[in-house]
């Protein structure tokens, strides 16, 4: 059985009086329905009349920040560092 972790989703919420959706944060969910339900529970607790957009983090393409041309591939960049990108050095394990 494949043991996969729930993917990461980015959450955007427009409040009742708001003009646009704003990025509220992220959370893990198995699919879009769950992401919406979780987002409602985590980011809009008991707020009425909000609109929630969810999208998997991997589907977001971000523009490159200015100062790091040397270290990253240009264009098509993802929003976050990927866990698999780095081998966690031993130091991280010791507090």
């Amino acid at each position: 059985m494949s043991k996969k972790n729930w993917p990461l989703w980015e959450i955007f919420v427009r409040s009742k009086n708001g003009l646009e959706h704003r990025h509220f944060g992220s959370l893990h969910a198995a699919d879009a329905e769950m992401a919406l339900e979780n987002a409602r529970d985590v980011y809009t607790r008991r707020n009425e009349g909000v609109s929630i957009w969810v999208t998997e983090s991997k589907h977001i393409t971000a523009s490159n920040p200015e100062n790091n041309g040397e270290l990253f591939e240009p264009a098509q960049d993802k929003v976050y560092r990927h866990p698999t990108f780095y081998d966690l050095p031993d130091e991280v394990k010791h507090m």
């Binding site: 059985m1 893990h28 979780n38 409602r40």
Partner: protein, 250 residues
């Protein structure tokens, strides 16, 4: 005091009280942080409803009893919740099955209670129905996930549905207070909700690739105050502080 109305309200509220208490037990122990928050949300919603109902009941009683007296100082035979909601949190499948089997009823019930000629009750129903339709969506989504997930999850949720099925029929029993309130157009005739309930539940179970239990024998007694052994222990938690430190304010 309008005794029938008072008892009728308690009959409604006790379901939310006991189920809210059960869901509160899960806090900090959910299968994921996100699910933990969702279950606590449900508990919060239910307990909020209880407060509205009990505050109304206290007014009807007309003496100095409070929502807390009603919630925490009754004897075990005076709680009127259905047996379904007092069943324990054996595992997540049981939690979801219990929630689902209650939510389908609860949503249909509130839709009717909105039409009550008692303005306070219809207002409460109006407010609660938004919360409960979310509960129903949450629990039915999870029945599907577990039913049509892995073989292990299917086995667990099937077992839970099988175990809890015997408590579903009681939802449609009427007490003396129920019947009296229906006559006054205050209460909901729950016998009329039965067919649609089983249809909705069976449809969802099929969609979740689960088997519909075929047992024809159902448990009852909660509405008359005859509970399973679980309620006694639940009440020792619920009532502890009020019993140990009587007549104090918190």
């Amino acid at each position: 005091m309008k005794e029938n109305l008072y008892n009728y309200i308690l009959g409604i509220a006790d379901n939310s009280l006991i189920l809210g208490q059960r869901m509160g037990e899960l806090c900090g122990h959910g299968p994921s942080l996100e699910t933990d928050i969702a279950c606590t949300n449900i508990s919060l919603d239910l307990l909020g409803q209880v407060r509205s109902y009990f505050q109304y009941a206290a007014k009807i009683a007309g003496d100095d009893r409070t929502e807390d007296d009603i919630a925490m100082l009754r004897k075990e035979r005076d709680y009127k919740n259905v047996l379904l909601v007092e069943q324990p949190n054996l595992n997540f499948a049981h939690t979801i099955a219990r929630q689902f089997l209650f939510d389908v009823y609860h949503l249909a019930f509130l839709a009717e209670l909105q039409k009550s000629t008692d303005l306070t009750l219809s207002a409460i129903a109006n407010k609660c129905i938004k919360e409960v339709s979310y509960h129903e969506r949450f629990s039915s989504d999870w029945v599907k996930r577990l039913g049509d997930g892995t073989s292990e999850s299917k086995e667990k949720i099937q077992e839970a549905i099988n175990d809890l099925w015997t408590y579903t029929d009681e939802l449609f029993h009427q007490t003396k207070a129920d019947k009296a309130m229906v006559l006054e157009s205050v209460g909901v005739d729950v016998t009329k909700l039965k067919d649609d309930y089983y249809k909705r539940v069976k449809d969802l179970l099929e969609e979740a690739t689960l088997k519909i239990p075929d047992s024809k024998w159902f448990q009852k007694g909660g509405k008359e105050g005859i509970h399973t052994e679980h309620l006694g222990y639940l009440l020792t938690d619920l009532q502890y502080m009020q019993r140990t430190y009587p007549n104090m304010e918190w």
